[in-house]
């Protein structure tokens, strides 16, 4: 029945209504998050366990949205069973696997297969939530909407992400999906669509914040018998996973946005360019495209409007620079992904020389809601200059990591301390890296800065695509700058000299700083280079490459100075500038550090002098293992085992011992010995 293509808007609405009624009967419904985070934590086993447990109580429960046959669903429901559905990311990835139970909306965290019988019992018998699996084990916070993580959020683009079976067109239709497309095709001219988008003030979410309506206008007005639209799903910023989640959680929304864009600019062909590193997103979007075509929502004469549009999917091939629009076009054409100078902009001369409109995944994800509810409703959230919401990927040293969507203009405090719950392990907040390698680092004095395009630009950073990586006191800002420089340097396509050579030189200088061999003159040179690369590089990659350096210099100059004048790393993070040390008070003498050490640098303290026990134990130290046979351990009045200590000269600075210690006794301190040119070790004045 549903294989038939939908001929017109009336048929679409009838089908939507029928599917919505069927959806109503899918209750209670157990939604198991199968986003990447939860899958890695074993969500697939959890869903299997649900199916098994429910089958004990009734037949065939994984309904696979058997929406075509409401009678069948109804029959099963009367048998007292529930439906199980996988979903995309539900948001709080840190606590996965997540399970949401509808209609109540109870959110369970860290669910393991063993927990499944309890949940099923509660669902089937209607006895309320299973308190021990709630995020705060608190009955008053049983629903997702009640918990701190979701409170500052306004999930509009992510409305169905994590709540529906991703890529299943029937479920998308049941929720009113493709109504915006129908409205655009039957009630609006392409110009009216563009006007609506312009009035809403939608700005590109791919980084630059360019007004989407304007881009569509230019593409529409450009000369050309053939035009293209492209959705940019290359998401290569380290620390960003918003577009991935949207594609994996609600691919039809992005596809619907793409079709509307094509209608608005007058394109009959389009591409989705998705990172190959996201195989699941590729598969789900491909499936969504095939389904949309089967339903007549993609292809010839969509909904009887006379508008035709075909879309294809291209996988990226692992080059960050291909996210840049002209490089992306070169890549689709089968060439090396190198940017070219703009103008001409792709909107005028793009794919195969034709006018091409390129938009980011999230930008297009905004479009269906905008068209359906109108510009005024769209502007209800966000700021005047940056209307709507923004999705952020919250990661790093924050208590709760995950995917969030907040109104534009929310503050960093709302995000990091509200949704994010503050810094992990009670450490101090130091900075937040925003906008990836083109963005910058902001500090505690920016916590009340509204997150919108203008405010961030003023502070020297940018919203970028939406990656937020929180750094705590243990991060060294010089090292962070070096890290980003090494990223852009290795991703530079090499086409223009300022970027290719400039980033290489800057990386050398930053590396010298983190190794403690730089001088003040190097710092000056670094600043000079940063300025000139910014001015003269060809594409956004090179132009913005200095941003992490410039913002860290602006807000953490002291740290740079410590590195170049005293060769000291205040955060004790730069491995060349630290020593590892074991706190004898905290050390319980278990020996796990010694076992982890690859170089035999960790040894038990000699009874007599309290220093590492010399050569005698050196050979055996690597596999000495926990000192379990120690006679002291047997006696009732257990004498404390002798602590361990580290020989700084043998230490490779691999951090293994620190990771291995169960008591947190191993710590990093400013380096005690430096190697002079001849390679011998000498003790510095700054020893302790």
């Amino acid at each position: 029945m549903t294989d038939r293509r939908i001929e017109d808007r009336r048929e679409l609405e009838m089908l939507q209504a029928r599917l919505a009624r069927a959806l109503e009967t899918l209750r209670p419904r157990i939604i198991v998050c199968e986003g990447t985070g939860c899958l890695a934590k074993g969500a697939a086993d959890v869903r299997r366990a649900f199916i098994k447990e429910l089958e004990k109580r009734g037949p065939g429960i994984d309904l696979d949205l058997a929406l075509e046959d409401p009678d069948e669903v109804e029959r099963r429901r009367e048998m007292g069973v529930a439906a199980v559905t996988p979903s995309g990311c539900q948001g709080l990835c840190q606590r996965g696997p997540l399970v949401t139970v509808e209609p109540e909306g109870y959110l369970y965290v860290g669910v393991r297969p063993d927990d499944v019988p309890d949940i099923v019992q509660a669902v089937v018998e209607g006895t309320g939530p299973v308190v021990r699996l709630l995020s705060d084990r608190d009955l008053s916070q049983a629903r997702a909407a009640d918990i701190d993580f979701f409170r500052p959020q306004e999930r509009r683009v992510l409305a169905w992400c994590g709540r529906i079976r991703p890529g299943d067109i029937r479920e998308y239709l049941a929720r009113g999906g493709y109504s915006a497309l129908a409205k655009a095709l039957t009630e609006m001219t392409p110009d009216e669509v563009i006007e609506e988008v312009t009035a809403a003030g939608l700005r590109g979410r791919g980084g630059a914040g360019f007004p989407t309506g304007k881009k569509w206008r230019v593409t529409r007005d450009a000369e050309g018998d053939k035009k293209y639209v492209i959705v940019n799903g290359d998401e290569g910023d380290p620390g960003a996973f918003m577009d991935r989640c949207l594609l994996e959680g609600d691919p039809h929304r992005v596809l619907e946005g793409l079709i509307i864009a094509a209608y608005a600019v007058g394109a009959d062909e389009g591409y989705a360019y998705v990172r190959a590193e996201y195989p699941r997103a590729v598969r789900l979007l491909r499936r969504a495209m095939a389904e949309a075509e089967r339903y007549g929502l993609l292809g010839e004469d969509i909904l009887g409007s006379g508008f035709s549009f075909r879309a294809r999917l291209k996988e990226g091939a692992g080059a960050f620079v291909c996210g840049e629009e002209t490089a992306l076009i070169a890549s689709i054409e089968g060439r090396r992904g190198m940017p070219r100078p703009r103008p001409p902009f792709p909107a005028v001369r793009g794919l195969w020389g034709r006018p091409t409109c390129i938009n980011n995944v999230e930008t297009l994800g905004n479009v269906p809601g905008l068209i359906l509810y109108g510009a005024a409703a769209y502007r209800e959230v966000g700021t005047d200059g940056s209307p709507g919401t923004k999705i952020f990927a919250l990661a790093g040293q924050v208590e709760r990591t995950g995917l969030i969507e907040v109104p534009m203009g929310s503050t960093l405090r709302d995000v990091i301390f509200g949704a994010g719950g503050g810094i992990r392990g009670g450490k101090e907040f130091k900075a937040v890296q925003i906008g990836g390698p083109s963005g910058g680092c902001l500090t505690s004095r920016h916590l009340d800065l509204p997150l919108d395009y203008e405010s961030l630009k003023e502070a020297g950073a940018m919203i970028g695509s939406g990656g937020l990586v929180v750094l705590d006191e243990d991060s060294c800002m010089v090292e962070v700058a070096r890290f980003f420089m090494s990223f852009v340097q290795s991703e530079s396509c090499g086409k223009c000299v300022p970027c290719r050579e400039g980033t290489r030189r800057m990386l050398e200088l930053l590396t010298k700083m983190t190794e403690g061999t730089a001088t003040k003159a190097d710092l000056e040179l670094l600043e000079e280079l940063a300025g000139s690369v910014r001015e003269s590089a060809l594409c956004g990659l090179g132009k913005s490459a200095p941003n992490p350096v410039l913002t860290t210099l602006r807000y953490f100059r002291d740290e740079y100075l410590a590195h170049v004048t005293e060769h000291r790393c205040p955060a004790a993070a730069c491995l060349e500038l630290v020593s590892f040390e074991i706190d004898p008070e905290k050390c319980i003498g278990c020996g796990l550090c010694a076992k982890a050490c690859p170089s035999g640098a960790v040894r038990q303290v000699d009874r007599a002098d309290g220093t590492p026990d010399g050569r005698r134990r050196a050979e055996g130290a690597g596999d000495a293992g926990p000192a379990k046979k120690s006679p002291a351990a047997k006696g009732k009045t257990r004498k404390k085992r002798l602590p361990y200590a580290i020989d700084d000269e043998l230490c490779l600075r691999c951090d293994a011992c620190r990771a291995a210690c169960p008591k947190g006794a191993v710590r990093r301190v400013p380096r005690k010995t430096v190697r002079d040119r001849s390679g011998a070790a000498a003790t510095t004045a700054a020893g302790d």
Binding site: A40, G236, P238, A319, Q397, F483, E491, D655
Partner: protein, 192 residues
């Protein structure tokens, strides 16, 4: 004809080319499929593809070396990618990388073990930053919240898997975490 690509394998290559179409814009999808098939892009294959698409070999080599996804050297049965994106970096990705290399038994400067069991690479963000540090195996299995200890244990598990099942069977789907990987190996000893 090139010895390594005689017979069935050679046919497969033709299949891939036909399926994608003999146009320059099919070059990248073709190379992607070839790489999936043989786990790397042997030189002979690149030359052959160039002829088939009517492109100069230099253009094909240019593309094959530009994109990080492509490798012109044989890769191990398990390609272990240790993420060193920002989120992973600040949560100790370096130490995980160190541990993986050590467990895999890699000499300094090498990325692939001599027996072609492991290739270890450091990559930028695999898009699972919320559970940093992250390690992926053959792109399809994702492991989060890695520690040095778990990294070493993972390598041991993979080693065992390789010993028990020397030639991987065709699995299904895009397993993440515990689910099965899609083992792309029609070539067996393509490296030879």
């Amino acid at each position: 004809m090139v010895p390594a690509f005689e017979g069935r394998r050679f046919e497969k290559l033709n299949d891939i080319i036909e399926r994608n179409g003999r146009t320059p814009s099919s070059l990248i999808p073709i190379l992607q499929e070839v790489q999936e098939e043989y786990r790397y892009l042997p030189e002979e294959v690149l030359t052959y593809v160039a002829t088939a698409l009517g492109l100069p070999p230099s253009a094909v080599f240019g593309v094959a070396t530009f994109y990080a996804q492509f490798s012109t050297e044989p890769k191990g049965r398990f390609v272990i990618k240790v993420c060193d994106g920002t989120a992973c970096h600040v949560r100790g990705a370096d130490t995980v990388h160190f541990a993986v290399r050590r467990a895999a038994g890699l000499e300094p400067g090498r990325k692939t073990t001599d027996d072609l069991t492991f290739t270890v690479e450091q990559v930028n963000c695999v898009g699972a930053c919320s559970m940093a540090p992250v390690v992926t195996v053959n792109d399809r299995r994702v492991y989060g919240d890695m520690t040095q200890k778990e990294a070493a244990a993972l390598v041991e598990r993979l080693r065992k898997e390789a010993e028990e099942e020397p030639v991987p069977t065709e699995g299904a789907g895009d397993g993440v975490g515990t689910a099965g990987e899609r083992a792309a190996d029609g070539a067996g000893g393509a490296a030879g």
